[in-house]
Each structure stands twice: as structure tokens, then as C-alpha cells.
């Protein structure tokens, strides 16, 4: 598939000229262009009415924002930032509806925070928001890591990166642990080629792709410092904080509810105790650890019900949906037997699989 050439936007069909994605920046050229154009600020009367309600309704962006509020516990600052971005884009669309055109805003973002704080989930919502507001053509999210972008031998990296970019065209390219792409201490690292291609696309294909780079804040800051020109191409830097114990409890309730389960009162108390212990142990990954813990509790509930059923117990719906305290308390976390690996270093200090929860 041929890629859109830099400097000319994609075709919009017969009779519609391609949009310029690269504006000439020379002062003389800009003046020349403005002299030829009618000034929309003069031509459009100040009292021209914008049907804001209709455009807002048609975009149905509030559906995604409400969904985000429902599906994501806490993260008030993150939600606020997403709402601000949505508002900016909506106003841009209102301006466009009365002829006040502006160039495509830079929408590339960086999401920083520990594992399980909701970065991937918010990226998926962002794809939907950008689609509903008309800033991308498809709104899908392609999630990748270094292995998907960087090759292992000479000449392997560029086609690999281009293939990923092609898949992400019209949507969001979400690069998890983006700082792994480029190893500054290794001059022969092929990741540099990927970075160069990304920088080029982030600048020249702003109407075709939104890049979201994600990872731990400290490593991302170092990555931006190591790659000149990257941070300035990212308009929105959003930090995802860790969840508090109460928020984690809310997440557990929500996740259980979404899977048609219920924690009994005793199970809730046990889960609270579980959280206190688990938070002090290594490799805690916020929402992801909660999901793992619930999965393990479900498994123990299944074993309990299976044993009861085999002994002739009659099972009711209540039995099938209720997670009891025992299902939580049998976790190895309470036995002090939580699986401990040698203390991880660097990136994996807090992350990683929590299979033994």
C-alpha cells in the first residue's frame, strides 16, 4: 500500500483537492497567501450563529466521556485533561462550521504512570473521541512495543516500523514503554531508525495519525531528553497517578460487578486486608493487580462450589455470583508466602506479572 507523500494530504475523492499538510513557513509566502485570501474574520459577521448544541449532539462525544467516567475509577485529573482536549476540538469544529478554518492541531500525547493506572484504556477512549470529533478517519488503536517496531538486523527496522504505521493510519498508535525504542548508550541500536521515522510521521502526517507514547514517568522524561525534537512534537503530557487503597477497592467492586460477581461483606473486608498487604509487596500493578486478585478469587470460589456440588449441595444463583471471604483469604499473600523473586531493577521495579497473587 502506498503511503501518503509528505507535503500533500490524502485524496478526498473526485473534485476535492488534497489538503496541504505542510504549510509554507516563509514569512513572505505567508503574507502572499493572506493577501490572496479573503479574511474570514472580516467576511464572517460577528453575530454569525453557531449551532453548538446540534454539533455537540451530533458528535456524541459526551457518550464516550460518560463511558470513561463510568469505566474508570478516580483519575479525576486525567479525565479533566481529556475533557479539556475534547472541548478544544469541539470548539475547533464549531469554528470550522462557520468557516473559521485553522490548521490541524498537534494531538500527539504522552501518558506517564505506573503499570495498571489506565493508560491503555484511556488511549482507546481517546481514539473514539478523536473519531467522533472528526480528527481521525478511523479511530482504532494499534498498541505496540519496541519489538513490533525495531528489527534485529540491518534493513529490518524501517519496513517493520512502516508496516505498523500503515496499520495505525487513521487512528491512534499507542507505543507502550516507548523509551525502550531507543537505547542512547548503544550507537548501533536500530531503534534510532524507528525514532527518525516516528518524528517524520508525527510532523508530516498529523491529520492521519495520533501517536501516544506511554511508560514510567522517569524513563519517559529521560527518553524525551535523549531524543531532541520529540517532546516538542507532543502537545499533551498526561500523568496517571497511582490509585489509593479506597480507589483500588472501588475498582475491585466495579470489576466484580462487570463480571456479574459480588463480594460479600466479609469478602470486602478480607479484600481490604489483602490490599493492605499486597500494596507493601513488590510488583504491584494497580488495576491490573486487582484484576489478577479477583481472577484468583473467582478460581477459589469455583473450586469451593465444585467441591460442594460434588457432595450434593444445591447451588443457587446467589452461590454462583458471591465471592466469600474464604475465597480471598486463601491467597498466599495472607500466608506470608507471596512469591518473591530477586528484587527487580530498573523498569520492572513495580511492574511485572503477578501470577501468584
Amino acid at each position: 500500500m502506498a503511503q501518503t507523500q509528505a507535503g500533500s494530504g490524502p485524496s478526498l475523492g473526485p473534485g476535492v483537492p488534497p489538503r496541504d499538510t505542510q504549510e509554507p513557513y516563509g514569512r513572505g509566502k505567508v503574507d502572499e497567501r493572506f493577501a490572496e485570501l479573503e479574511d474570514p474574520l472580516r467576511e464572517i459577521p460577528d453575530d454569525a450563529v453557531v449551532d453548538a448544541a446540534a454539533i455537540f449532539r451530533e458528535s456524541r462525544v459526551d457518550e464516550v466521556l460518560d463511558e470513561m467516567d463510568r469505566d474508570l475509577i478516580a483519575l479525576q485529573q486525567v479525565k479533566e485533561r481529556i475533557r479539556e482536549i475534547a472541548a478544544l476540538l469541539l470548539v475547533d469544529r464549531l469554528r470550522r462550521s462557520i468557516g473559521l478554518e485553522a490548521s490541524a492541531p498537534t494531538l500527539h500525547m504522552s501518558f506517564t504512570g505506573n503499570p495498571g493506572t489506565g493508560k491503555t484504556t484511556v488511549a482507546a477512549k481517546m481514539g473514539k473521541i478523536l473519531y467522533k470529533l472528526g480528527y481521525v478517519r478511523k479511530g482504532h488503536v494499534v498498541s505496540v512495543t519496541r519489538d513490533d517496531l525495531v528489527g534485529q538486523y540491518v534493513g529490518h527496522t524501517a519496513p517493520k516500523t512502516r508496516e505498523v504505521l500503515k496499520k495505525a493510519m487513521g487512528g491512534v498508535l499507542f507505543i507502550d514503554e516507548a523509551y525502550h525504542i531507543y537505547r542512547v548508550d548503544n550507537e548501533r541500536d536500530y531503534g534510532q531508525e524507528t525514532v527518525e521515522l516516528l518524528l517524520q510521521v508525527m510532523e508530516n502526517e498529523r491529520e492521519n495519525i495520533v501517536v501516544i507514547m506511554a511508560g514510567y514517568k522517569k524513563q519517559m522524561d529521560r527518553f524525551f531528553a535523549d531524543v531532541p525534537g520529540l517532546s516538542s512534537r507532543i502537545a499533551h503530557h498526561i500523568d496517571f497517578p497511582d490509585y489509593s487503597p479506597n480507589e483500588l477497592m472501588d475498582i475491585a467492586r466495579l470489576m466484580a460487578e462487570q463480571q456479574r460477581y459480588r463480594l460479600s461483606d466479609e469478602a470486602e473486608k478480607a479484600f481490604g486486608d489483602y490490599l493492605q498487604l499486597r500494596l507493601g509487596q513488590p510488583r504491584f500493578a494497580n488495576g491490573r493487580s486487582i484484576r489478577n486478585a479477583l481472577d484468583r478469587a473467582r478460581m477459589r470460589q469455583a473450586i469451593r462450589l465444585y467441591a460442594g456440588g460434588r457432595d450434593g449441595d444445591r447451588l443457587t444463583k446467589k452461590d454462583l455470583v458471591t465471592i466469600e471471604a474464604d475465597d480471598v483469604l486463601k491467597s498466599r499473600v495472607f500466608e506470608g508466602g507471596f512469591y518473591r523473586e530477586p528484587e527487580p531493577v530498573g523498569d520492572d521495579a513495580r511492574a511485572g506479572p503477578a501470577a501468584h497473587e
Binding site: 475523492g13 480528527y135 478517519r137 487513521g170
Partner: protein
């Protein structure tokens, strides 16, 4: 005998009109895909070369299966033998 080449629809089967995308000048990108298009199809000229047509502001196909089939061959770098 097997019929090869472009699939044909029986006269008795009405062709289904599928909207692949819409032009909308109020959006920043000017055109948006509806999600009915085959996965990976992005460029409009490519959709047109695969048989999609413009009807007003809508890019449509009356044979999505055939369009998807041809696109599948194109992305695999395989050209159909037209002999």
C-alpha cells in the same frame, strides 16, 4: 465447472449497498471511514481502485465481499491472474 474471476451476483439477489465512508467538510480530516471497510484499508484511491464508487458524499460498494477479497490479495502483494 468452477467460475473463476470476478464474482457475479445472481439477478434475483439484490446487491447490498454498503457505505464505506463519508465526506464531511465540517471535520478536520474531511472524510471518515464508517468501519464497514476491510481492516487495513485506508487510502481512498485504493478503495476506488478496488471498485468503490462515490454517490454524493458517500463512498459505497455494492459488493463488499469482492472488494475485501481483492484488498486481501493486494495487501499480500499478490496480483490476480486475469488471463
Amino acid at each position: 465447472m468452477l467460475a473463476l474471476g470476478r464474482p457475479r451476483m445472481s439477478d434475483s439477489v439484490p446487491a447490498e449497498r454498503v457505505v464505506l465512508g463519508r465526506r464531511d467538510d465540517t471535520t478536520m480530516v474531511g472524510f471518515q471511514w464508517t468501519g464497514a471497510e476491510p481492516e487495513g484499508l485506508y487510502e481512498l484511491y485504493e478503495a476506488e481502485s478496488l471498485g468503490a464508487v462515490w454517490e454524493g458524499d458517500e463512498l459505497v460498494t455494492y459488493n463488499l465481499g469482492h472488494l475485501a477479497h481483492r484488498f486481501g490479495h493486494d495487501i499480500d502483494g499478490y496480483m490476480e491472474d486475469v488471463d
